[in-house]
Assembly symmetry: D2
């Protein structure tokens, strides 16, 4: 399936909660920013995860995540997350995400997501989501 470039940008400020005693953003916290950004990307397409769970009984789970940490983000930095759908399968999708401070790339992520029902069983993406992505 040919897909448009769905690059989506969100900005986040770095607070004390994000940093650690080494004076930088703690490595696990980049995954928090990435999840916030994917949620906003989804919201920009018209979908809200709490409603998808309540109304359709489905959720998105990360089954694979790969991250390269290139440069550290620090307290009070304003970082940008660029989120892009790379590949869409029947029950899985791969997202590319880049963390930047201005033009400097701080981290790059590849995130594999699956659609699951309330029992954690893989199900197909909702047709409405496919349609929104194909637009």
């Amino acid at each position: 399936m040919s897909l448009p470039d769905l690059g989506h940008r969100t900005d986040y400020r770095i607070y004390y909660e994000d940093t650690d005693a080494a004076g930088m953003v703690y490595y696990a916290n980049y995954l928090k920013f990435a999840e916030r950004a994917r949620t906003e990307w989804l919201r920009s397409l018209g979908f809200e995860q709490s409603l998808l769970l309540k109304d359709e009984g489905i959720g998105f789970v990360v089954h694979h995540c790969e991250i390269d940490f290139l440069k550290p983000a620090k307290l009070d930095d304003l970082i940008t997350l660029e989120t892009r759908l790379q590949e869409l399968g029947k029950v899985r999708m791969t997202m590319q995400q880049v963390v930047k401070r201005g033009d400097t790339i701080l981290a790059e992520l590849s995130v594999g997501l699956a659609c699951v029902d309330r029992n954690s069983k893989p199900v197909r993406w909702p047709q409405a989501l496919i349609s929104a992505l194909e637009k």
Copy 2:
């Protein structure tokens, strides 16, 4: 109701995840240690929160929390949480918790808990818990 001293001790190591760029444990994280300690105190009485929720449909929620931060904990510190039931009402209880490094008191907490059902409505403590506490 007269209650025995239920002082309960648990130890925790400070990791990078607990600290912030000021080189100390981030203030909100003391509440995480306190919740871990209350959970272990409950477990020592024979109760597990996931089972209470699944089998009895009840949960414990914090409705009030007061904390004095006296001295900072730092990376690699081994801290001790002392947890004590101070007052037990019909639908509420107050816990006293002290955070120590050796004999040095780092923080003191007073935590008000309520028993609620699946709809967040206050309910009485389970009789089995009252009995365990009166022992």
Copy 3:
């Protein structure tokens, strides 16, 4: 010292990272939102914590915190933090913070802050901060 009403508002979206298995925002995480809001209040007055630390060698530490949890915030909620200086002493200040969803109050905090140097010793608030607050 008579102080103006420095009510300051910031909005935050609730993401999965903020919630727990009870389906609500984990209690410690309200302190994260409160700290983000105090940081933005300070930034609105012209001060950035990383610069205060680097240039003046001072930091703000929380020495006391009291919080009433009234109603839970949930996934995808948009919450508002209202932040107000209540009392300003020579080396301490007390902030009042309210967490709302629309007009509904979810939590109320009273936070005691102290100004400290690099060795965690209390020092007076910088004169520039006093001046900004008196404006």
Copy 4:
């Protein structure tokens, strides 16, 4: 360099702080458990990160991380982290980490670490660490 199997095991309890509204451990938190486990692996070899930073001016930073999420961990689970050095280079090392609940594998991580000085510049691993690893 031929290296012995340095498999190291640490156990962690899952608390509310680790879970999210989907009822499982939040995906970023596996990286916290992994970092705790690597710290304990290092401590078992006689090294403490806060001392390495203070005395030798060096720290360990994660430059790459890959994680497969196979099955979710839930509230009150007791999980085991198995930590193993896979490859040791001059300024980098690769660790393999497995998250288990009993015999069930929940997640698998490959973590690339680098040794850096106070200015985030790559430096060689301390000779004492090499010696401890070769034992």
